[in-house]
Protein backbone atom coordinates (compact mmCIF):
# COMPACT_ATOMS: atom_id res chain seq x y z
CA UNK A 1 0.00 0.00 0.00
CA UNK A 2 1.29 3.50 -0.77
CA UNK A 3 1.85 6.26 1.79
CA UNK A 4 -1.01 8.24 0.36
CA UNK A 5 -3.35 5.52 1.58
CA UNK A 6 -2.32 5.98 5.19
CA UNK A 7 -2.77 9.72 5.43
CA UNK A 8 -5.23 11.47 7.69
CA UNK A 9 -7.17 14.10 5.78
CA UNK A 10 -8.26 16.94 8.04
CA UNK A 11 -11.07 19.36 7.38
CA UNK A 12 -11.82 22.14 9.84
CA UNK A 13 -13.27 25.52 8.84
CA UNK A 14 -10.95 27.47 11.09
CA UNK A 15 -7.45 27.10 9.71
CA UNK A 16 -5.81 27.30 13.10
CA UNK A 17 -7.68 24.23 14.38
CA UNK A 18 -6.54 22.17 11.42
CA UNK A 19 -2.91 23.15 11.78
CA UNK A 20 -2.95 22.37 15.50
CA UNK A 21 -4.60 18.99 15.03
CA UNK A 22 -2.27 18.13 12.18
CA UNK A 23 0.85 18.80 14.16
CA UNK A 24 -0.53 16.79 17.07
CA UNK A 25 -1.11 13.79 14.80
CA UNK A 26 2.23 14.18 13.04
CA UNK A 27 3.97 14.04 16.41
CA UNK A 28 2.27 10.65 16.93
CA UNK A 29 3.61 9.39 13.60
CA UNK A 30 0.65 10.00 11.28
CA UNK A 31 0.89 11.65 7.91
CA UNK A 32 -1.55 14.45 7.53
CA UNK A 33 -2.95 16.66 4.84
CA UNK A 34 -5.31 19.58 5.29
CA UNK A 35 -8.27 20.10 2.98
CA UNK A 36 -9.51 23.65 2.50
CA UNK A 37 -13.13 22.67 1.90
CA UNK A 38 -15.44 19.73 1.35
CA UNK A 39 -14.82 19.37 -2.42
CA UNK A 40 -11.06 19.29 -1.79
CA UNK A 41 -11.61 16.73 0.96
CA UNK A 42 -13.40 14.51 -1.54
CA UNK A 43 -10.77 15.01 -4.23
CA UNK A 44 -7.97 14.11 -1.82
CA UNK A 45 -9.88 11.12 -0.46
CA UNK A 46 -10.35 9.74 -3.96
CA UNK A 47 -6.59 9.79 -4.44
CA UNK A 48 -6.15 7.84 -1.23
CA UNK A 49 -7.00 8.22 2.45
CA UNK A 50 -6.55 6.31 5.71
CA UNK A 51 -8.91 8.34 7.88
CA UNK A 52 -11.02 11.47 7.44
CA UNK A 53 -11.00 13.80 10.42
CA UNK A 54 -13.69 16.44 10.13
CA UNK A 55 -14.89 19.19 12.44
CA UNK A 56 -18.63 19.33 12.78
CA UNK A 57 -18.69 23.00 11.71
CA UNK A 58 -17.39 21.96 8.31
CA UNK A 59 -20.85 20.52 7.63
CA UNK A 60 -23.14 23.36 8.74
CA UNK A 61 -25.96 21.83 6.71
CA UNK A 62 -24.80 18.23 6.84
CA UNK A 63 -22.43 16.69 4.29
CA UNK A 64 -23.03 17.53 0.64
CA UNK A 65 -23.82 14.99 -2.01
CA UNK A 66 -20.15 14.96 -3.04
CA UNK A 67 -19.10 13.42 0.26
CA UNK A 68 -22.06 11.05 0.41
CA UNK A 69 -21.29 9.93 -3.13
CA UNK A 70 -17.61 9.41 -2.25
CA UNK A 71 -18.61 7.01 0.51
CA UNK A 72 -21.27 5.20 -1.46
CA UNK A 73 -19.04 4.61 -4.46
CA UNK A 74 -16.37 2.77 -2.46
CA UNK A 75 -15.21 -0.63 -3.69
CA UNK A 76 -16.55 -3.63 -1.79
CA UNK A 77 -13.47 -3.99 0.44
CA UNK A 78 -13.45 -0.32 1.52
CA UNK A 79 -15.22 1.29 4.46
CA UNK A 80 -13.37 4.60 4.92
CA UNK A 81 -13.34 5.61 8.62
CA UNK A 82 -14.59 9.14 9.36
CA UNK A 83 -14.09 10.85 12.70
CA UNK A 84 -16.33 13.85 13.35
CA UNK A 85 -15.28 16.23 16.08
CA UNK A 86 -18.45 17.64 17.63
CA UNK A 87 -18.95 20.73 19.74
CA UNK A 88 -19.76 18.66 22.80
CA UNK A 89 -22.73 18.32 25.07
CA UNK A 90 -25.92 17.28 23.40
CA UNK A 91 -25.72 16.45 19.73
CA UNK A 92 -26.13 19.63 17.73
CA UNK A 93 -28.31 19.92 14.67
CA UNK A 94 -25.17 19.81 12.50
CA UNK A 95 -23.95 16.57 14.04
CA UNK A 96 -27.39 15.01 13.72
CA UNK A 97 -27.58 16.07 10.11
CA UNK A 98 -24.11 14.67 9.50
CA UNK A 99 -24.97 11.34 11.08
CA UNK A 100 -28.28 11.01 9.26
CA UNK A 101 -26.95 12.16 5.89
CA UNK A 102 -24.11 9.65 6.00
CA UNK A 103 -26.62 7.03 6.93
CA UNK A 104 -26.08 3.91 8.96
CA UNK A 105 -23.64 2.51 6.45
CA UNK A 106 -20.88 5.11 6.96
CA UNK A 107 -18.01 4.14 9.24
CA UNK A 108 -18.61 7.10 11.54
CA UNK A 109 -17.07 7.89 14.97
CA UNK A 110 -17.82 11.03 17.01
CA UNK A 111 -15.44 12.74 19.43
CA UNK A 112 -16.79 15.39 21.71
CA UNK A 113 -15.03 18.64 22.41
CA UNK A 114 -13.24 19.37 24.59
CA UNK A 115 -11.12 16.26 24.23
CA UNK A 116 -7.71 15.25 25.44
CA UNK A 117 -4.97 14.86 22.84
CA UNK A 118 -4.70 11.19 23.73
CA UNK A 119 -8.40 10.61 23.03
CA UNK A 120 -7.97 11.97 19.52
CA UNK A 121 -4.77 10.02 18.89
CA UNK A 122 -6.35 6.78 20.13
CA UNK A 123 -9.42 7.33 17.96
CA UNK A 124 -7.29 7.96 14.87
CA UNK A 125 -5.12 4.93 15.71
CA UNK A 126 -8.19 2.68 16.00
CA UNK A 127 -9.61 4.00 12.71
CA UNK A 128 -6.25 3.51 10.96
CA UNK A 129 -6.06 -0.06 12.27
CA UNK A 130 -9.44 -0.78 10.78
CA UNK A 131 -8.36 0.86 7.53
CA UNK A 132 -5.23 -1.33 7.33
CA UNK A 133 -7.39 -4.41 7.71
CA UNK A 134 -9.41 -3.21 4.74
CA UNK A 135 -6.23 -2.90 2.69
CA UNK A 136 -5.38 -6.48 3.64
CA UNK A 137 -8.77 -7.65 2.42
CA UNK A 138 -8.17 -5.76 -0.80
CA UNK A 139 -4.85 -7.56 -1.19
CA UNK A 140 -6.51 -10.91 -0.72
CA UNK A 141 -9.26 -10.03 -3.17
CA UNK A 142 -6.69 -8.97 -5.75
CA UNK A 143 -4.89 -12.26 -5.22
CA UNK A 144 -8.13 -14.11 -5.65
CA UNK A 145 -8.95 -12.19 -8.78
CA UNK A 146 -5.51 -12.93 -10.20
CA UNK A 147 -6.08 -16.58 -9.41
CA UNK A 148 -9.47 -16.61 -11.10
CA UNK A 149 -8.04 -14.77 -14.10
CA UNK A 150 -5.19 -17.26 -14.29
CA UNK A 151 -7.41 -20.29 -14.04
CA UNK A 152 -9.89 -18.88 -16.55
CA UNK A 153 -7.04 -18.29 -18.97
CA UNK A 154 -5.84 -21.86 -18.57
CA UNK A 155 -9.36 -23.19 -18.96
CA UNK A 156 -9.86 -21.14 -22.10
CA UNK A 157 -6.59 -22.47 -23.50
CA UNK A 158 -7.73 -26.03 -22.80
CA UNK A 159 -11.08 -25.39 -24.47
CA UNK A 160 -9.34 -23.90 -27.50
CA UNK A 161 -7.10 -26.98 -27.69
CA UNK A 162 -10.12 -29.26 -27.51
CA UNK A 163 -11.82 -27.28 -30.25
CA UNK A 164 -8.72 -27.52 -32.42
CA UNK A 165 -8.67 -31.24 -31.65
CA UNK A 166 -12.24 -31.81 -32.76
CA UNK A 167 -11.61 -29.71 -35.85
CA UNK A 168 -8.63 -31.91 -36.70
CA UNK A 169 -10.72 -35.00 -36.05
CA UNK A 170 -13.38 -33.78 -38.44
CA UNK A 171 -10.91 -33.05 -41.23
CA UNK A 172 -7.91 -35.29 -40.91
CA UNK A 173 -9.43 -38.40 -39.37
CA UNK A 174 -12.34 -38.54 -41.74
CA UNK A 175 -10.32 -38.13 -44.93
CA UNK A 176 -8.61 -41.57 -44.80
CA UNK A 177 -11.92 -43.06 -43.69
CA UNK A 178 -13.67 -41.67 -46.71
CA UNK A 179 -10.89 -43.13 -48.85
CA UNK A 180 -11.36 -46.57 -47.27
CA UNK A 181 -15.10 -46.43 -47.77
CA UNK A 182 -14.79 -45.09 -51.29
CA UNK A 183 -12.19 -47.52 -52.59
CA UNK A 184 -13.88 -50.55 -51.01
CA UNK A 185 -17.12 -49.42 -52.62
CA UNK A 186 -15.48 -49.31 -56.06
CA UNK A 187 -13.64 -52.54 -55.37
CA UNK A 188 -16.93 -54.28 -54.63
CA UNK A 189 -18.64 -52.66 -57.58
CA UNK A 190 -15.95 -53.30 -60.18
CA UNK A 191 -13.85 -56.24 -59.00
CA UNK A 192 -16.21 -58.39 -56.90
CA UNK A 193 -16.70 -60.85 -59.76
CA UNK A 194 -13.00 -61.67 -59.71
CA UNK A 195 -13.11 -62.67 -56.03
CA UNK A 196 -14.58 -65.76 -54.42
CA UNK A 197 -17.24 -65.58 -51.69
CA UNK A 198 -14.71 -65.24 -48.90
CA UNK A 199 -12.88 -62.42 -50.68
CA UNK A 200 -16.14 -60.58 -51.15
CA UNK A 201 -17.00 -61.13 -47.48
CA UNK A 202 -13.66 -59.65 -46.38
CA UNK A 203 -14.24 -56.66 -48.59
CA UNK A 204 -17.74 -56.15 -47.24
CA UNK A 205 -16.33 -56.29 -43.70
CA UNK A 206 -13.79 -53.56 -44.52
CA UNK A 207 -16.52 -51.43 -45.99
CA UNK A 208 -18.88 -51.83 -43.05
CA UNK A 209 -16.09 -51.33 -40.49
CA UNK A 210 -15.08 -48.05 -42.10
CA UNK A 211 -18.72 -46.97 -42.27
CA UNK A 212 -19.06 -47.75 -38.56
CA UNK A 213 -15.93 -45.80 -37.72
CA UNK A 214 -17.21 -42.89 -39.76
CA UNK A 215 -20.49 -42.78 -37.86
CA UNK A 216 -18.53 -42.97 -34.61
CA UNK A 217 -16.43 -39.96 -35.62
CA UNK A 218 -19.53 -38.07 -36.70
CA UNK A 219 -21.31 -38.82 -33.42
CA UNK A 220 -18.31 -37.61 -31.42
CA UNK A 221 -18.31 -34.41 -33.47
CA UNK A 222 -22.04 -33.89 -32.90
CA UNK A 223 -21.54 -34.44 -29.20
CA UNK A 224 -18.70 -31.92 -29.01
CA UNK A 225 -20.65 -29.43 -31.10
CA UNK A 226 -23.57 -29.70 -28.67
CA UNK A 227 -21.20 -29.22 -25.77
CA UNK A 228 -19.79 -25.95 -26.91
CA UNK A 229 -22.11 -24.01 -29.18
CA UNK A 230 -24.22 -21.24 -27.71
CA UNK A 231 -27.86 -22.18 -27.45
CA UNK A 232 -30.62 -19.72 -28.25
CA UNK A 233 -33.77 -20.92 -26.51
CA UNK A 234 -37.10 -20.01 -28.08
CA UNK A 235 -40.70 -21.30 -28.01
CA UNK A 236 -41.19 -24.39 -30.16
CA UNK A 237 -44.00 -26.67 -31.21
CA UNK A 238 -42.61 -30.23 -30.92
CA UNK A 239 -45.17 -31.82 -33.22
CA UNK A 240 -43.81 -30.66 -36.61
CA UNK A 241 -40.32 -31.65 -35.46
CA UNK A 242 -41.59 -35.14 -34.60
CA UNK A 243 -43.36 -35.43 -37.99
CA UNK A 244 -40.24 -34.26 -39.78
CA UNK A 245 -38.10 -36.89 -38.04
CA UNK A 246 -40.68 -39.60 -38.83
CA UNK A 247 -40.49 -38.64 -42.47
CA UNK A 248 -36.72 -38.49 -42.82
CA UNK A 249 -35.79 -41.89 -41.37
CA UNK A 250 -36.82 -44.94 -43.38
CA UNK A 251 -36.75 -47.15 -40.26
CA UNK A 252 -39.57 -44.98 -38.88
CA UNK A 253 -41.77 -45.28 -41.99
CA UNK A 254 -45.03 -47.29 -41.70
CA UNK A 255 -43.48 -50.14 -43.68
CA UNK A 256 -40.94 -50.71 -40.92
CA UNK A 257 -42.56 -49.52 -37.69
CA UNK A 258 -45.83 -48.47 -36.19
CA UNK A 259 -45.50 -45.00 -34.73
CA UNK A 260 -48.51 -43.50 -32.98
CA UNK A 261 -48.39 -39.75 -32.39
CA UNK A 262 -50.96 -38.45 -29.90
CA UNK A 263 -51.50 -34.69 -30.32
CA UNK A 264 -52.05 -32.05 -29.13
CA UNK A 265 -48.54 -31.08 -28.10
CA UNK A 266 -47.80 -28.16 -25.80
CA UNK A 267 -45.25 -25.57 -26.81
CA UNK A 268 -41.87 -25.84 -25.11
CA UNK A 269 -38.78 -23.69 -24.72
CA UNK A 270 -35.98 -25.23 -26.73
CA UNK A 271 -33.67 -25.11 -29.72
CA UNK A 272 -34.99 -26.53 -32.96
CA UNK A 273 -31.88 -28.37 -34.14
CA UNK A 274 -31.13 -29.68 -30.64
CA UNK A 275 -34.66 -30.93 -30.06
CA UNK A 276 -34.85 -32.49 -33.52
CA UNK A 277 -31.62 -34.35 -32.81
CA UNK A 278 -33.01 -35.57 -29.46
CA UNK A 279 -36.27 -36.77 -31.02
CA UNK A 280 -34.48 -38.61 -33.83
CA UNK A 281 -31.97 -40.26 -31.48
CA UNK A 282 -34.68 -41.44 -29.07
CA UNK A 283 -36.95 -42.66 -31.88
CA UNK A 284 -34.29 -44.48 -33.87
CA UNK A 285 -33.20 -46.19 -30.64
CA UNK A 286 -36.82 -47.11 -29.85
CA UNK A 287 -37.27 -48.96 -33.14
CA UNK A 288 -33.75 -50.43 -33.16
CA UNK A 289 -33.69 -52.24 -29.83
CA UNK A 290 -36.55 -54.69 -30.41
CA UNK A 291 -36.47 -58.45 -30.06
CA UNK A 292 -35.83 -60.23 -33.39
CA UNK A 293 -39.02 -60.65 -35.38
CA UNK A 294 -40.90 -57.98 -33.44
CA UNK A 295 -42.52 -55.14 -35.34
CA UNK A 296 -41.42 -51.93 -33.58
CA UNK A 297 -44.23 -49.90 -32.08
CA UNK A 298 -43.73 -46.45 -30.52
CA UNK A 299 -46.28 -44.18 -28.92
CA UNK A 300 -45.55 -40.46 -28.53
CA UNK A 301 -47.54 -38.13 -26.28
CA UNK A 302 -46.99 -35.32 -23.82
CA UNK A 303 -48.11 -34.15 -20.38
CA UNK A 304 -47.68 -30.90 -18.48
CA UNK A 305 -45.63 -31.18 -15.25
CA UNK A 306 -45.17 -28.13 -12.94
CA UNK A 307 -44.45 -25.47 -15.54
CA UNK A 308 -42.74 -27.99 -17.80
CA UNK A 309 -43.81 -30.34 -20.55
CA UNK A 310 -42.80 -33.98 -20.71
CA UNK A 311 -42.77 -35.67 -24.10
CA UNK A 312 -42.99 -39.45 -23.74
CA UNK A 313 -41.80 -42.12 -26.18
CA UNK A 314 -43.06 -45.58 -25.21
CA UNK A 315 -41.66 -48.53 -27.18
CA UNK A 316 -42.08 -52.29 -27.30
CA UNK A 317 -38.33 -52.92 -27.28
CA UNK A 318 -36.08 -55.16 -25.22
CA UNK A 319 -36.16 -52.80 -22.23
CA UNK A 320 -33.34 -51.72 -19.93
CA UNK A 321 -32.48 -53.09 -16.53
CA UNK A 322 -32.97 -50.39 -13.83
CA UNK A 323 -29.36 -50.82 -12.72
CA UNK A 324 -28.13 -49.54 -16.11
CA UNK A 325 -30.62 -46.76 -16.59
CA UNK A 326 -28.40 -43.92 -15.41
CA UNK A 327 -25.28 -45.20 -17.12
CA UNK A 328 -26.72 -45.28 -20.64
CA UNK A 329 -26.78 -41.47 -20.83
CA UNK A 330 -23.00 -41.28 -20.48
CA UNK A 331 -20.79 -41.15 -23.54
CA UNK A 332 -19.64 -44.56 -24.87
CA UNK A 333 -21.76 -46.40 -22.31
CA UNK A 334 -24.13 -49.07 -23.56
CA UNK A 335 -26.31 -51.40 -21.56
CA UNK A 336 -25.83 -55.21 -21.96
CA UNK A 337 -29.22 -55.26 -23.71
CA UNK A 338 -27.60 -53.30 -26.55
CA UNK A 339 -24.83 -55.83 -27.14
CA UNK A 340 -26.31 -57.43 -30.22
CA UNK A 341 -27.25 -54.15 -31.86
CA UNK A 342 -25.19 -51.72 -33.93
CA UNK A 343 -24.37 -48.35 -32.43
CA UNK A 344 -21.69 -46.05 -31.13
CA UNK A 345 -22.83 -45.53 -27.54
CA UNK A 346 -23.09 -41.78 -28.09
CA UNK A 347 -26.71 -41.30 -29.16
CA UNK A 348 -28.19 -40.93 -25.68
CA UNK A 349 -25.18 -38.92 -24.46
CA UNK A 350 -26.01 -36.45 -27.24
CA UNK A 351 -29.65 -36.39 -26.08
CA UNK A 352 -28.56 -35.84 -22.49
CA UNK A 353 -26.18 -33.02 -23.45
CA UNK A 354 -28.68 -31.33 -25.78
CA UNK A 355 -31.51 -31.48 -23.24
CA UNK A 356 -29.20 -30.15 -20.53
CA UNK A 357 -28.18 -27.25 -22.79
CA UNK A 358 -31.87 -26.42 -23.29
CA UNK A 359 -32.40 -26.36 -19.52
CA UNK A 360 -34.43 -29.57 -19.48
CA UNK A 361 -34.27 -33.13 -18.22
CA UNK A 362 -34.31 -36.58 -19.76
CA UNK A 363 -35.16 -39.91 -18.19
CA UNK A 364 -36.83 -43.27 -18.65
CA UNK A 365 -38.97 -45.95 -17.10
CA UNK A 366 -38.20 -49.46 -18.21
CA UNK A 367 -38.12 -53.15 -17.30
CA UNK A 368 -36.21 -55.77 -19.30
CA UNK A 369 -38.51 -57.46 -21.77
CA UNK A 370 -41.31 -54.97 -21.21
CA UNK A 371 -40.26 -52.02 -23.34
CA UNK A 372 -39.02 -48.59 -22.35
CA UNK A 373 -40.61 -45.19 -21.96
CA UNK A 374 -38.10 -42.40 -22.52
CA UNK A 375 -39.14 -38.86 -21.71
CA UNK A 376 -37.74 -35.43 -22.49
CA UNK A 377 -38.84 -32.63 -20.20
CA UNK A 378 -38.53 -28.97 -21.26
CA UNK A 379 -39.90 -25.76 -19.79
CA UNK A 380 -43.29 -24.91 -21.22
CA UNK A 381 -43.41 -21.83 -23.43
Amino acid sequence: MSDIEERVIILAPYGADSVQTASLLRESGFQTVIARDEPELCALAREGAGVLLVAEEAFPHGPTSGTVDLLQSQPSWSDLPIIIVTTGGDLTQASLRAVSAFGESANLALIERPFRALTLIRAVQAAMRARRRQYQVRGMMDGLEDLVRDRTKRLEATIAELEAFSYTVSHDLRAPLRAMQGYSHYLIEEYAHRLDDQGRLFLERIRSASARLDSLVQDILTFSRFSKSDVQISPLDPEPLIRQVLESYSELHPANAEIVVRPPFLRVKGHEAFLTQCISNVLTNAVKFVAPGTRPRVEIWNEPIDGSVRVYFRDNGVGIDPSHQQRIFRIFERGPEAENYDGTGIGLAIVHKAVERMGGKVGLESQPGRGSTFWIELQSA
Binding site: Y167, S170, H171, R174, A175, L177, R178, A179, Q181, G182, Y183, H185, Y186, A211, D214, L221, R225, S229
Partner: protein, 145 residues
Protein backbone atom coordinates in the same frame (compact mmCIF):
# COMPACT_ATOMS: atom_id res chain seq x y z
CA UNK B 1 -21.67 -25.19 -80.83
CA UNK B 2 -20.21 -23.20 -77.98
CA UNK B 3 -17.67 -24.96 -75.80
CA UNK B 4 -18.85 -25.70 -72.28
CA UNK B 5 -17.27 -23.67 -69.53
CA UNK B 6 -15.16 -25.84 -67.21
CA UNK B 7 -15.67 -26.70 -63.58
CA UNK B 8 -12.66 -25.75 -61.49
CA UNK B 9 -12.03 -28.26 -58.70
CA UNK B 10 -9.64 -27.09 -55.97
CA UNK B 11 -8.76 -30.19 -53.99
CA UNK B 12 -5.44 -31.32 -52.54
CA UNK B 13 -6.36 -34.86 -51.53
CA UNK B 14 -5.74 -37.25 -54.48
CA UNK B 15 -8.34 -39.68 -53.11
CA UNK B 16 -10.97 -36.98 -53.07
CA UNK B 17 -9.96 -35.95 -56.59
CA UNK B 18 -10.48 -39.54 -57.71
CA UNK B 19 -13.88 -39.79 -56.02
CA UNK B 20 -14.98 -36.43 -57.41
CA UNK B 21 -14.06 -37.48 -60.94
CA UNK B 22 -16.08 -40.65 -60.48
CA UNK B 23 -19.04 -38.79 -58.95
CA UNK B 24 -19.02 -36.18 -61.74
CA UNK B 25 -18.98 -39.00 -64.28
CA UNK B 26 -21.79 -40.79 -62.44
CA UNK B 27 -23.84 -37.58 -62.44
CA UNK B 28 -23.15 -37.24 -66.19
CA UNK B 29 -21.93 -33.68 -65.95
CA UNK B 30 -20.72 -32.81 -69.43
CA UNK B 31 -18.53 -29.83 -68.52
CA UNK B 32 -14.77 -30.33 -68.61
CA UNK B 33 -13.12 -30.60 -65.22
CA UNK B 34 -10.02 -28.60 -64.40
CA UNK B 35 -8.19 -29.68 -61.26
CA UNK B 36 -5.74 -27.70 -59.16
CA UNK B 37 -4.32 -29.04 -55.92
CA UNK B 38 -3.63 -26.00 -53.76
CA UNK B 39 -4.91 -22.48 -53.11
CA UNK B 40 -2.05 -20.76 -54.93
CA UNK B 41 -2.64 -22.81 -58.08
CA UNK B 42 -6.30 -21.85 -57.92
CA UNK B 43 -5.38 -18.17 -57.75
CA UNK B 44 -2.85 -18.59 -60.57
CA UNK B 45 -5.50 -20.24 -62.73
CA UNK B 46 -8.11 -17.58 -61.99
CA UNK B 47 -5.63 -14.78 -62.59
CA UNK B 48 -5.03 -15.99 -66.13
CA UNK B 49 -8.71 -15.67 -67.05
CA UNK B 50 -9.18 -13.29 -69.92
CA UNK B 51 -5.43 -12.75 -70.32
CA UNK B 52 -4.05 -12.60 -73.83
CA UNK B 53 -2.13 -15.45 -75.40
CA UNK B 54 -2.15 -19.18 -75.17
CA UNK B 55 -1.88 -19.34 -71.35
CA UNK B 56 -5.35 -17.84 -70.87
CA UNK B 57 -7.81 -19.80 -68.71
CA UNK B 58 -11.49 -20.05 -69.60
CA UNK B 59 -13.92 -18.65 -67.01
CA UNK B 60 -15.21 -21.57 -64.94
CA UNK B 61 -18.96 -22.10 -64.63
CA UNK B 62 -18.46 -23.31 -61.06
CA UNK B 63 -15.60 -23.39 -58.62
CA UNK B 64 -15.69 -26.35 -56.21
CA UNK B 65 -13.46 -25.19 -53.39
CA UNK B 66 -12.10 -27.21 -50.49
CA UNK B 67 -11.53 -25.29 -47.26
CA UNK B 68 -8.35 -26.88 -46.03
CA UNK B 69 -5.72 -26.47 -48.70
CA UNK B 70 -1.94 -26.13 -48.82
CA UNK B 71 -0.33 -22.71 -49.43
CA UNK B 72 -3.51 -20.62 -49.50
CA UNK B 73 -6.60 -22.05 -47.82
CA UNK B 74 -10.07 -22.03 -49.30
CA UNK B 75 -11.18 -18.89 -47.47
CA UNK B 76 -8.15 -16.96 -48.69
CA UNK B 77 -8.87 -18.04 -52.27
CA UNK B 78 -12.50 -17.00 -51.87
CA UNK B 79 -11.47 -13.65 -50.43
CA UNK B 80 -9.09 -13.08 -53.33
CA UNK B 81 -11.79 -14.05 -55.85
CA UNK B 82 -14.41 -11.69 -54.39
CA UNK B 83 -12.01 -8.73 -54.60
CA UNK B 84 -11.50 -9.17 -58.34
CA UNK B 85 -14.13 -7.29 -60.38
CA UNK B 86 -14.08 -9.84 -63.21
CA UNK B 87 -14.47 -12.80 -60.78
CA UNK B 88 -16.99 -11.36 -58.36
CA UNK B 89 -19.86 -13.16 -60.06
CA UNK B 90 -18.22 -16.58 -60.33
CA UNK B 91 -20.24 -19.23 -58.51
CA UNK B 92 -18.09 -20.68 -55.73
CA UNK B 93 -19.30 -23.78 -53.90
CA UNK B 94 -17.44 -24.81 -50.79
CA UNK B 95 -17.00 -28.58 -50.74
CA UNK B 96 -15.49 -29.69 -47.49
CA UNK B 97 -15.62 -32.14 -44.61
CA UNK B 98 -16.16 -29.37 -42.06
CA UNK B 99 -19.44 -28.77 -40.37
CA UNK B 100 -17.91 -26.26 -37.97
CA UNK B 101 -20.23 -23.29 -37.45
CA UNK B 102 -17.24 -20.96 -37.66
CA UNK B 103 -16.16 -22.30 -41.07
CA UNK B 104 -19.69 -22.18 -42.43
CA UNK B 105 -20.39 -18.61 -41.37
CA UNK B 106 -17.02 -17.24 -42.46
CA UNK B 107 -17.42 -18.92 -45.86
CA UNK B 108 -20.80 -17.24 -46.35
CA UNK B 109 -19.51 -13.93 -45.03
CA UNK B 110 -16.66 -14.09 -47.51
CA UNK B 111 -19.17 -14.70 -50.29
CA UNK B 112 -19.52 -18.36 -51.17
CA UNK B 113 -22.68 -19.29 -53.08
CA UNK B 114 -23.20 -22.63 -51.41
CA UNK B 115 -21.63 -24.79 -48.71
CA UNK B 116 -21.69 -28.54 -49.21
CA UNK B 117 -20.33 -31.20 -46.87
CA UNK B 118 -18.52 -34.08 -48.52
CA UNK B 119 -20.45 -37.25 -47.82
CA UNK B 120 -18.63 -40.41 -46.86
CA UNK B 121 -19.67 -42.86 -49.55
CA UNK B 122 -19.45 -42.75 -53.36
CA UNK B 123 -23.19 -43.20 -53.91
CA UNK B 124 -23.88 -40.24 -51.62
CA UNK B 125 -21.24 -38.13 -53.37
CA UNK B 126 -22.76 -39.02 -56.73
CA UNK B 127 -26.11 -37.90 -55.30
CA UNK B 128 -24.58 -34.56 -54.27
CA UNK B 129 -23.09 -34.05 -57.72
CA UNK B 130 -26.40 -34.90 -59.40
CA UNK B 131 -28.01 -32.20 -57.24
CA UNK B 132 -25.24 -29.74 -58.13
CA UNK B 133 -25.80 -30.53 -61.80
CA UNK B 134 -29.56 -30.09 -61.73
CA UNK B 135 -29.48 -26.94 -59.61
CA UNK B 136 -26.34 -25.07 -60.62
CA UNK B 137 -25.90 -26.25 -64.19
CA UNK B 138 -29.51 -26.65 -65.29
CA UNK B 139 -31.87 -24.51 -63.19
CA UNK B 140 -29.65 -21.66 -62.13
CA UNK B 141 -29.58 -18.55 -64.30
CA UNK B 142 -26.10 -17.01 -64.62
CA UNK B 143 -25.26 -13.37 -65.31
CA UNK B 144 -23.74 -12.46 -68.64
CA UNK B 145 -20.03 -13.08 -68.20
Amino acid sequence: MTTLRPILLVEDNPDDVFFMKRAIAAAQIPNPLHIVTDGQQAIDYLERIGSAGSGSSPLPILVLLDLKLPKRNGLEVLQWVRKRPHLRRVVVIMLTTSREDGDISSAYETGCNSFLVKPASPPQLAEVMRAVKSFWLELNVFPES
